[in-house]
């Protein structure tokens, strides 16, 4: 049990000894600026400018068929904000994010726990397998789900073969299909986030609880679960964020009846060519995002400590 001897937290080597350069002298300031500048510049060009331009675009007026009128108006915001339809889409988006987040956390938790605890020599491989899907494009995996969930797909044909169903279940072209697909697609993210969020969880704490008379169930509810809460919360946020911003899976598995902000943005851009409106929706999505992350972080700080 070599893990027993590992300190719970790895100290930051060197830093405690005051190794950090104090960037007070001129020479040091020049050095760190020179090091930072290219990266900052790259990010400004590829990140800040596009976002800023998009915000500007959201105040333009979009006429049908892609004509853009350069002006400064709040119309593009007033429309979605006053239209119950967009409220519903926003609400659906939110609901989908929460559902996917919760389910994803539930199915990822046992895997993450298993990987975090495993001392097996296969652990590295198992982790690699758990995150390999991450590196396969979501398009391909969605495609796989189409084959699995379709009317004549794996699930329906298997169930029919076993005589469990007469008419195929409708597993795709609706929110069910999108949810299943998204849960699977974001599982690797959730697993990774949890593993790194399990910092305070150690087998020793569970053993300590056991030695104090706690049954397996009590050990889980009183020690394991509370201590993995930070990891769970991080994973949930991540999955939530990812799932409300994705549009490929809702498009491919939603059958047109899953309308969320991201697909709406896509439709507005490529289908209806209303760029300012799409930009406004994006800004709304961003603001929503910012709010949720802010609230959430406050929450996590409280719980996670």
């Amino acid at each position: 049990m070599t893990t027993l001897k590992e300190p719970l937290q790895r100290p930051r080597l060197g830093a405690a000894e005051g190794e950090l350069e104090q960037a007070t002298t001129k020479r040091n300031r020049r050095t760190y600026l020179a090091l930072l500048l290219p990266g900052l510049l790259g990010l400004v060009v590829s990140f800040v400018f596009p976002l800023a331009y998009m915000v500007r675009m959201s105040f333009n007026k979009g006429a049908p068929d892609g004509v853009i009128e350069e002006t400064f108006t709040l119309d593009t915001y007033i429309q979605p904000l006053t239209d119950p339809y967009y409220w519903r889409v926003t609400l659906d988006t939110f609901q989908m994010g929460v559902t996917v987040g919760v389910l994803c956390v539930i199915v990822s938790y046992p895997v993450a726990l298993f990987l975090a605890r495993s001392t097996s020599k296969w652990r590295g491989l198992l982790i690699a397998i758990a995150i390999a899907p991450l590196l396969t494009s979501a398009v391909v995996r969605t495609y796989g789900w189409m084959v699995i969930l379709g009317t004549n797909g794996l699930v329906n044909s298997t169930l029919a073969d076993w005589g469990l169903i007469d008419t195929p279940l409708k597993l795709t072209n609706n929110m069910t299909g999108v949810t299943i697909g998204l849960v699977e697609i974001f599982m690797p993210y959730a697993i990774l986030a949890m593993i790194s969020g399990f910092g305070r969880l150690s087998p020793q704490l569970e053993e300590a609880a056991g030695s104090l008379g706690a049954s397996k169930f009590k050990v889980f509810t009183r020690v394991t679960l509370p201590l993995s809460l930070p990891g769970i919360l991080t994973a949930f946020l991540l999955v939530f964020v990812l799932s409300i911003s994705t549009f490929i899976t809702p498009r491919l598995l939603g059958g047109g009846s899953v309308q969320v902000l991201a697909t709406e943005i896509y439709d507005q851009t490529t289908g209806l060519l209303n760029w300012p409106f799409a930009a406004a929706l994006s800004v709304i999505l961003l603001v929503l995002f910012g709010l949720i992350i802010a609230v959430y972080q406050r929450l996590t700080k409280k719980i996670g400590g």
């Binding site: 892609g66 008419t167 072209n173 047109g256 490529t270 289908g271």
Partner: protein, 339 residues
């Protein structure tokens, strides 16, 4: 009259028989077949002209791309739906066609030419009803079958802004006896009844594969592709025009304004309107030719959409459609498509 403005892009190394052409048109099977039936023979005929094919899922995406290049066009020719090309015409994205540079224009009948002289019709098709031949040994005769509870859950319908969805709206309106240019309230009410039985409003991979793979048994589709896939799937799927009528889907060929390779582009447009190209593509993908001098074999002629007035056609006014598209799309989203 402004045909002389071709020099602006500065690629003067292109002539009527050399250089390159940037073509923007449909993707997928359309692209494959058009390549084989038209572009390859064209290249064989004009070996010095290179064609860069940029494919788009929909006419709207083509329009969006062209709008993006408005100040500095990188495209020469666009083949797209006439409802969209009309928008392009009014937005000044396209140039008028010079009959002297495109002699084959003369073979295009009046009704398929643009009144102001912009790009003419290059091919025609119409909306059809796709059906699974195992479920329907005989082709359904009426659009009513879409409302038949027996097939609930096994229908695919493409919602607007897809042209298929817009067409279905117009057809339903007509079936309900209202004038869709005035109101579509009845159509909406009727379509709402259909909606719960619809498996998907955005079929994937597409409407044809949905029927072929058995995901659905009925679907809305283009006749041309439907015919093509029917062959491909050994007649697992069929396509038919129900008796209440249907809507044309018309593609025009357009010359982009200030096209960098105008001369070569005109050569291509001329070829696209030639009888050999029109016949070849009809054979390949069952689009009806738009020229009078294209001769089709009988087994092909039977399967392309008739342009001789024998089919009950619901007229869909292009100008009207471009103004109604957003509204109808919204209406579908808000009222018809339900979770």
């Amino acid at each position: 009259g402004c045909g002389g403005g071709s020099g602006s892009a500065g690629t003067s190394n292109s002539s009527a028989t050399s250089g390159e052409i940037n073509l923007i048109a449909y993707a997928g099977v359309w692209q494959d077949q058009y390549n084989a039936a038209v572009i390859e023979p064209f290249k064989a005929k004009y070996p010095d002209i290179k064609i860069n094919y940029s494919s788009k899922r929909s006419s709207a995406e083509m329009l969006s791309a062209l709008q993006g290049q408005k100040n500095d066009p990188a495209t020469d020719v666009a083949i797209m739906d006439n409802s969209v090309s009309t928008t392009g015409n009014t937005q000044g994205l396209f140039d008028k066609i010079d009959e002297s540079a495109v002699p084959n224009l003369a073979n295009v009948p009046e009704k398929f030419q643009d009144k102001s002289g912009f790009g003419p019709v290059v091919m025609l098709d119409a909306v059809g009803l796709l059906y699974d031949t195992a479920t329907f040994p005989k082709a359904p005769e009426s659009w009513d079958v879409l409302w038949d509870p027996a097939y609930a859950g096994r229908i695919n319908v493409n919602a607007p802004p897809s042209l298929l969805g817009l067409s279905l709206t117009a057809i339903t309106s007509k079936m309900e006896g209202e004038d869709y240019t005035q109101s579509i309230d009845k159509a909406v009410a009727k379509l709402k009844e259909m909606a719960p039985g619809v498996q998907t409003f955005a079929p994937n991979p597409d409407e044809y594969q949905n029927v072929i793979t058995g995901q659905t048994v009925l679907g809305l589709g283009q006749n041309a592709r439907g015919q093509f896939y029917s062959d491909q799937s050994n007649k697992k799927m069929g396509v038919t025009f129900p008796k209440e009528g249907t809507v044309y889907q018309i593609n025009t060929v357009n010359l982009v304004k200030d096209a960098p390779n105008k001369a070569a582009a005109e050569t291509f447009i001329n070829y696209a309107l030639s009888p050999e190209a029109q016949t070849a593509f009809a054979k390949a993908l069952f689009y009806a030719p738009s020229v009078t001098n294209a001769e089709l074999p009988a087994e092909v002629k039977d399967r392309v959409v008739p342009t001789d007035g024998s089919l009950n056609i619901v007229p869909l006014d292009v100008q009207f459609l471009s103004s109604a598209r957003d509204k109808w799309t919204d209406t579908w989203k808000r009222q018809i498509i339900t979770k």
